[in-house]
């Protein structure tokens, strides 16, 4: 909200005035109202590990994060550029592997766990692999944005972008009069159009379904929400079966052919015949139909190789290699612990760095040096030494903060941003994002599984930013 000199950024002026005029108790009251509404609607997520099976609310913060249209434009262009390159990379990797031949990416990438040899030589409609990509972005200065990671498997969180907006409009209609906020509500329509567009050639009026691991999955609410918004069936593995090189769902009127599966279940569990044999969640034979072009999966199988934290370091090179453009968004400098020099440096500077598991996600298995105890650091040192290739390290970034309602009043808390890039006939984003906020003072971990909260993200649609025409263009794709 504030520039480095401490002044309120012009973008936040109206909000700043508004905040000055509402009391803490009014805001707390609104926050309580929001919590009640969220609980009644059942916008919950399930927590793994301790307290398993319990349903929890992700804390919602009533103060929005605001981005100027010009800032958004840059983020949006950068994210689209990145996803285009990543899709080209996946196609290349599973076909001619030119990028390896050119020496831009080492051939060791083929030993990565996310690489699926089953996909080698398989053609997917439109050569699109990551139909839905969540790009995690942080800000460290006025014009300094970094991509933290690309989520290309089954990124989640978009329901919070939509529900947080709905909640804000309900709680603070007056704020929406004061600001002209770019709308995000058409996201499900854009997604559905894209999914229909990636059916196999020749399919008329494709049947699209959303496949969920089931009601106990942490993101089940989102699966149900999106299926409802798009008006498509929410299926589990047990609802689908394979016959004659096609996928069918069991209905009360008999079997019905399925053309496109928006799957929110990991590769490993999707087909017990192809991957994990003990998976009860998948559909036996699905992958074989998929490889023969009998059904489209979104996202494709094998995208994990491109959002792996070790592959991440090559993304700027991919942008240059495939698009011949300079990357608009920067990577965070990253140390690969498989390299001897990097590893040595990291082990000497553990207290200053953030160390992550290459395959980890959800904020599990990471070390935030500056906020860790000596024991935690020493424990991690042992783990790194045992298997250096499993880790990367990054400098601790001075993440931007955003005013947030906490018990004592309004205080700055660290935030990140996850816009969702949709690829179908075109590559687009709706002007909004999941904004995650670390609720404890000084914390840099925003993951909801680690107690982070969410905020609504506003892209200001003011005339001087020329946002109006942009959002219209995006909604007609």
């Amino acid at each position: 909200m504030r520039a480095p000199d401490g002044k309120v950024r012009p973008l936040y002026n109206a909000l700043d005035q508004w905040l000055a005029n509402v009391s803490h108790s009014q805001l707390t009251q609104k926050a309580r109202e929001a919590e009640l509404l969220f609980r009644r609607v059942g916008i919950t997520f399930n927590v793994y590990g301790e307290d398993a099976g319990a349903e929890r609310l992700i804390p919602f913060d009533v103060i929005p994060r605001i981005l100027a249209a010009s800032e958004w434009q840059r983020l949006s262009d950068g994210a689209i550029q990145r996803v285009r390159a990543l899709n080209m990379f996946l196609h290349d990797l599973y076909h001619g592997q030119e990028i390896i031949k050119a020496g831009v990416v080492p051939s060791s990438i083929l030993t990565n766990n996310g690489y699926r040899p089953e996909m080698q030589g398989v053609d997917v409609p439109g050569n699109i692999y990551a139909h839905i990509a969540g790009i995690d972005i942080v800000r460290t200065g006025e014009n300094q944005f970094y991509v933290l990671e690309d989520n290309l498997r089954t990124p989640s969180g978009v329901s919070y972008m939509l529900e947080d907006r709905k909640m804000m409009m309900r709680l603070f209609p007056d704020l929406f009069r004061r600001y002209s906020v770019a709308p995000v509500e058409h996201y499900p329509q854009v997604l559905l159009n894209n999914l229909r567009a990636v059916a196999q050639p020749g399919v008329q009026d494709p049947t699209v379904v959303l496949m969920t691991p089931g009601a106990y999955n942490s993101a089940y609410f989102e699966h149900a929400f999106l299926a409802q918004q798009m008006g498509i069936e929410l299926v589990e593995g047990q609802d689908l079966f394979v016959r004659d090189n096609a996928v069918f769902m069991r209905t009360t009127e008999g079997p019905k052919r399925v053309d496109v599966i928006y799957r929110r279940i990991d590769d490993d569990f999707i087909d017990p015949l192809a991957f994990r044999a003990d998976s009860m969640l998948g559909v036996p034979g699905l992958v074989s139909v998929y490889r023969n072009g009998g059904v489209t999966l979104a996202n494709a199988i094998g995208t994990g190789v491109a959002d792996d934290k070790a592959t991440y370091t090559y993304v700027p090179e991919m942008v240059r290699f495939y698009l011949g453009e300079e990357p608009i968004l920067s990577n965070v400098p990253t140390y690969k612990l498989e390299l001897e020099d990097d590893c040595k440096y990291v082990l000497e500077h553990l207290a200053e760095l953030v160390v992550k598991e290459v395959q980890g996600s959800g904020g599990y298995g990471m070390l935030v040096g500056p906020s860790s105890t000596k024991e935690q650091i020493e424990d991690f040192r042992k783990r790194i030494k045992a298997n250096p290739g499993n880790y990367i390290a990054q400098p601790t970034l001075a993440l931007s903060t955003c005013p947030t309602l906490v018990e004592q009043g309004i205080a700055p808390r660290h935030v990140d941003l996850r816009p969702f890039v949709l690829s179908g006939k075109t590559v687009t984003l709706v002007p909004g994002a999941l904004c995650r906020v670390a609720l404890s003072d000084g914390s840099l971990v925003v993951n909801s599984s680690q107690g982070g909260g969410t905020k609504d993200t506003w892209v200001l649609n003011e005339f001087q930013y020329g946002m109006q025409s942009e959002s219209q263009e995006q909604s007609t794709c």
Partner: protein, 319 residues
């Protein structure tokens, strides 16, 4: 629609209906226990709800004595008792949660807030002063859910499976309630034509009528003193009494016709046969066979129909 979705909707509706009927039985039993009469002991009185759900063994093992506190605790909030209101509503909500996409958001909110409030009530505990209020609450939440369903749900296959679940369950519950009451009063040999002129019987039968919201209906229809045979007629054969067996089958048969289309299915035949028994049945014939036998037969056939529906639509085989 997806067979699994239809299955969840059907069972969600059944469990809510089941909870409502149990609340009706408990409420009336509790009210009965406040009226002093010598006809039967507290034990007889409180055994009825447990007998309706065929769970005498389970109750006696866990609680022993039949009295208001024990039976209310067992049938209302006991999580170990699969037939308790708590467990019924938990199952309803679990089913709803799996298919919230298939219903209107108002329906989901109605089931979900019902569940949240129930948990609050469990935490607060259930004291004697709360029995009636609790049963009223369950009934009114069930009314609300049904109203929201009729008022907001798209008239698609899902709607039909919700309705199907409601009426299969209601038919079963009404038959069980009537049967249990007859047995309690006259023993298993009763025929349905017993003389019932004692004032004790008046309280027995009027309470049964109240439990199915049929007291006023009885008076409107018969304009007569309350008599066991007429009560049975009202709850079995009358097609204008919303909780009667006949009315339930009146609802079930056309729904099955619609979802079976022209596929000539066994469940159509079964429903038709059952419907005919009620549509063309006469009370004196039923009394000759014995009311207990008639009701047991009905419960069995209704259950078979449920099994057939399950087999045909809900657990659809692969090929």
């Amino acid at each position: 629609m997806l067979s699994r979705t239809a299955d969840h909707l059907y069972w969600m509706a059944r469990y809510i209906e089941r909870a409502e009927n149990m609340a009706r039985v408990l409420d009336v039993t509790y009210r009965m226990s406040l009226v002093p009469h010598a006809a039967h002991s507290e034990e007889d009185l409180w055994m009825l709800p447990v007998r309706i759900v065929d769970d005498v063994e389970g109750f006696e093992r866990d609680y022993g004595a039949y009295n208001a506190t024990n039976v209310m605790r067992y049938m209302a909030l006991d999580e170990r008792n699969a037939s308790s209101i708590f467990e019924s509503l938990a199952s309803a909500r679990e089913n709803a949660r799996s298919v919230r996409v298939a219903m209107s958001s108002e329906m989901w909110e109605s089931v979900n807030s019902l569940w949240l409030e129930l948990q609050q009530r469990v935490r607060n505990g259930l004291n004697e002063g709360d029995y009636s209020e609790f049963c009223e609450w369950v009934k009114s939440r069930s009314h609300l859910f049904r109203g929201v369903t009729v008022g907001t749900m798209l008239r698609d296959d899902g709607y039909m499976f919700v309705r199907l679940g409601t009426f299969i369950e209601r038919a079963d519950n009404t038959a069980r309630l009537l049967d249990a009451k007859y047995q309690q009063l006259y023993g298993p040999k009763s025929g349905g034509d017993e003389e019932s002129d004692s004032s004790g019987d008046y309280y027995e039968w009027s309470s049964l009528l109240r439990s199915v919201s049929a007291m006023e209906a009885y008076q409107k229809v018969f304009r007569d003193t309350i008599d066991a045979g007429k009560v049975a007629e009202l709850l079995i054969l009358r097609d204008d009494m919303p909780r009667s067996l006949h009315t339930c089958l009146d609802e079930i048969t056309p729904i099955l016709e619609k979802i079976c289309a022209d596929r000539g299915m066994e469940c159509m035949r079964q429903a038709g046969e059952l419907h005919a028994k009620l549509h063309f049945g006469r009370m004196n014939v039923i009394a000759d066979t014995g009311l207990h036998e008639f009701l047991q037969d009905f419960i069995l056939l209704n259950n078979n129909l449920g099994v057939e529906i399950q087999k045909t639509f809900l657990n659809a085989p692969i090929r």
